[in-house]
């Protein structure tokens, strides 16, 4: 098949834009969640996934509250804390706390149970919960958590996840690469996709950006496929972006 991927004079030809205010919303009192893709009671046939990226939940959990013990299987689950401290316990014996700058990855595989609570008594915990379809079913469950140097993402893209245990960041059972960048106003950079055929989903954590010819604001999401590279420009100070490169086929 001919590669139609092109950014011609800044124009992206294959993309899907999810504006922040079009996401699904659930308010359970203790939990407020915005769903980029269909999840639980938010069902939208047009918003099922972007390639193997199946869940992108933007969660806010009240002080001392959280998700009680519940199961998962056959999914790569990544949590990225944005504010506050999240306490994690699981059936593999892990009891940990993750905070801004940490990345948590779980391969649910044949089955795990876990709980996640806001450890703080005085502030919300805000975090992203991301689910990626695995490239192999029924793997042995595993848990990983790392702390990253926040200075390593200033005006550059810091790799936080890859398929390779020896590479930077956490690793998962999928040919996916995640990066976070925190940019000064007007700072520009490019991202070269690691694997042919992969797509890239950009999610704006803070501030405003332009990717190709598309302007993005806080919590907007943009999926791009059939491309080898994207150009990213920050349009505000301390603008923060999460890039998720994922296979487009399960």
């Amino acid at each position: 098949m001919e590669n139609t991927d092109k950014i011609i004079e800044g124009t992206i030809t294959h993309s899907v834009l999810h504006k922040a205010n079009t996401r699904g919303h659930a308010d359970h009192g203790w939990l407020e969640s915005y769903h980029t893709f269909s999840f639980a009671n938010y069902q939208n046939r047009e918003r099922m996934n972007f390639g193997v990226l199946r869940v992108l939940n933007d969660d806010r959990v009240s002080q001392g509250m959280g998700f009680g013990k519940h199961p998962h299987d056959n999914m790569e689950i990544i949590s990225i804390p944005l504010e506050g401290d999240l306490e994690h316990q699981d059936s593999m014996g892990n009891t940990t706390v993750i905070k801004e700058g940490d990345i948590q990855a779980m391969s649910a595989g044949t089955g795990i149970f876990h709980s996640e609570y806001n450890k703080n008594k005085d502030q919300l915990v805000k975090f992203l919960q991301i689910w990626i379809y695995p490239n192999k079913k029924n793997v042995t469950p595993r848990y990983d958590q790392i702390t990253l140097d926040l200075n390593d993402r200033h005006n550059k893209l810091q790799q936080i996840l890859s398929p390779n245990p020896e590479d930077d960041g956490v690793w998962i059972h999928q040919d996916a690469w995640f990066h976070i960048g925190k940019f000064d106003n007007d700072f520009s950079t490019s991202y070269e996709l690691k694997k042919p055929g992969n797509g890239i989903y950009a999610f704006i954590l803070k501030g405003d950006f332009t990717i190709g010819n598309i302007t993005l604001n806080e919590r907007d999401g943009l999926g791009i496929w059939d491309t080898n590279t994207i150009k990213i420009t920050a349009n505000s100070a301390n603008a923060e972006i999460l890039l998720m490169e994922v296979p487009m086929e399960l």
Binding site: M48, H72, N74, G111, W131
Partner: protein
């Protein structure tokens, strides 16, 4: 409204119980869960299922054999891989599965 019968097969008992509880929380859905293939085939012969959910721990050979068996008995049944082991994706998988034949 007609009740939709759903068969879940998975090797992890606690996840099986969770999935069945979640299915049965919906007024018009009736879920039955089994852990082994013989039981799955036996119950499939006795009840008219609209959808089969394949959970975790099932080997590829078993999965293929089960799919062939179910389709031979009922070519219209939807067979869907269940991912996530809980509430997040279950509703989407069932609703989509009832519209399309997945396997």
């Amino acid at each position: 409204m007609e009740t939709i019968h759903i068969l879940y097969i998975g090797r992890h008992l606690e996840i099986l119980e969770t999935v069945i509880r979640l299915i049965n929380a919906n007024e018009n859905w009736n879920g039955v869960g089994v852990m082994n293939d013989e039981e799955a085939e036996e119950i499939f012969l006795r009840k008219d299922f609209s959808l089969v959910l394949l959970g975790s721990g099932i080997k590829e050979e078993s999965e293929a054999e089960l799919c062939t068996f179910f389709k031979n008995i009922n070519p219209d049944v939807s067979i869907v891989q269940h991912y996530g082991g809980g509430s997040g994706l279950l509703k989407s998988e069932i609703l989509l599965g009832l519209c399309n034949n997945k396997i």
